[in-house]
Amino acid sequence: MSPHVEIQLIAVLVAAACALPGTFLVLRRTAMVSDAISHTMLFGIVISYFVVRDLASPWLMVGATLTGVLTVWLVELLTRTRRVHEDAAIGLVFPLLFSLAVIMISRFAGNVHLDNDAVLLGEIGFAPFDRLTLLGIELPRAMWVLGGILSANLLFIGVCYKELQLSTFDAGLAAALGFSPALLHYGLMTLVSLTAVGAFDAVGAILVIALMIGPPAAAYLLTDRLSHMIGLGVAIGSLSALAGYWLARLLDTTIAGAMATMVGVSFALVFVLAPQRGVIALLRRRARQRWIVAQQMLAAHLLQHEGTPAAADESRLSTLGEHLRWSPEFIGAVVHRAEEAGMLQREGDTLRLTERGRALAAAAMTR
């Protein structure tokens, strides 16, 4: 395989591995946990490095993953003191651990390949040069690592699919049925952490967040089914990663940055164009709804005053504007549409509801 193909394969692996746990972060409204974890795992990497003194050691990944879980636990601990709200707790914990890591790197590890820029922006372009032979197959180390993480994510979600689904949508019921929400939560957080650590080398700390949150968020606007959302998230993430790779080649810039940028572009496209939940569809629906509601309001107004002493005054076209506080143009248009729909009839200046209009108004007003 040429390095270019390998880089693209790694990019797809990263995106797919991130989208899987990311789906649940988005649904459980804990997306900012990925922000916290992706920063603090650096602390774990540094500490582990000082223990084993080997940047290639698998213990670094273990340490970093544990730090991610520790972060979640620390945030919960702070929140549970009830002196700090959760958002502030996240904003306290991750900058501290991240700062300690950066300080340690620049003070004590200056000569090691761990510099600040690489922390924020991994360089996936170097991945093909670091190779590992397992089972007689020689592949870039990142491919082994990310393939392993992707498999672990697939395995966990496959095995616990039902439980995750239940605890995500109804934590109370899940607990009542005997699934421990805490166990699932920490299981998921371990996966998030492991995935962030694995992706870190390739895309750096902050862009992991884009890959975890962006594709699932876009998928969430396209489907209501969890299984479809997972699949779409993986697909959107992979396509964005590939698009990012080619954008980076075009502009001669960082591949990781371009990948996350393309995630943003994908999300923006879905956000605007999604068939049912996109902004265009929403505005169209609202515009349509506005006329329907206006006709209902007019009919309700006439119905409410039918048979009252003020009925004559309230149903005159010339005074309606004053009562409803609508502009004459708007009233004209609404009356015209309501007439077309057979909801009312005009008798000179007076508007009268038809049977149909009366039924529609009554139906609209009953909840």
């Binding site: 709804q289 309700a300 609209a364 007003m365």
Partner: protein, 261 residues
Amino acid sequence: MHTAAAAIEVTDLTVAYHDTPVLWDVDVRVPHGVLMAIVGPNGAGKTTLIKAILGLVRPAAGQTLIAGLPYAQQRQLVGYVPQRGSVDWDFPTSVLDVVMMGRYGRLGWFRRPGSRERELALAALETVQLQQYANRQISQLSGGQQQRVFLARALVQDAQVYFMDEPFAGVDAVTERAIIGVLQGLRAAGKTVVVVHHDLQTVPEYFDWVTLLNVRVIACGPVAEAFTDEHLRRAYGGRIAFLGGGPSAEVQDAGHAGAPR
């Protein structure tokens, strides 16, 4: 100064959230000097009605007038007690500071509350029997005390018309008595008081005017005329329709149907 116009006049008011109406063509006319309850089932739009009158949500149709003029011109005449649960009671502020907020509207921009505001606030706290708590942090109060702080804040507004959103939610019986005493005092002073209320049982005892609401107005008028079995049944639907017997039994049970407690 404004005897000709009603204290509150709502005409043809429709309010919609995201183009889904939650109040339909509401007409309500409240004379000066009454103590009025707004009752209706959950989701009937009671809070929305108050918010629309106060200009906090924009109506899709119709208008509301306070003493004959739009709210924006009559703000000085209006006092407001929002739901207690709508704020963070761990906010770093003292009881006295919260009550003084009631004067902010009259102070206008940039001016700081001074000794006059302080005195008014202390007097209002005395009215609700909380003067000894003036310097407490608000999180150290009980639910009933928090509700009375909000009441005191509205009192210092020195308004003509008061709107209160569920002032009895989650307060004990003693506090409820104390609050209703203050409200009746306001009415005696010629003020108009509108209360979103949940407990149907106490309506005839506490109030002299009532609006029954269920996305539209079922009835609005003096309690004796508007608070009838027929109207209650229409407001609460089938939930109390199965009840026979006299009005008192019905009212009692309806109270449970409507109350979330």
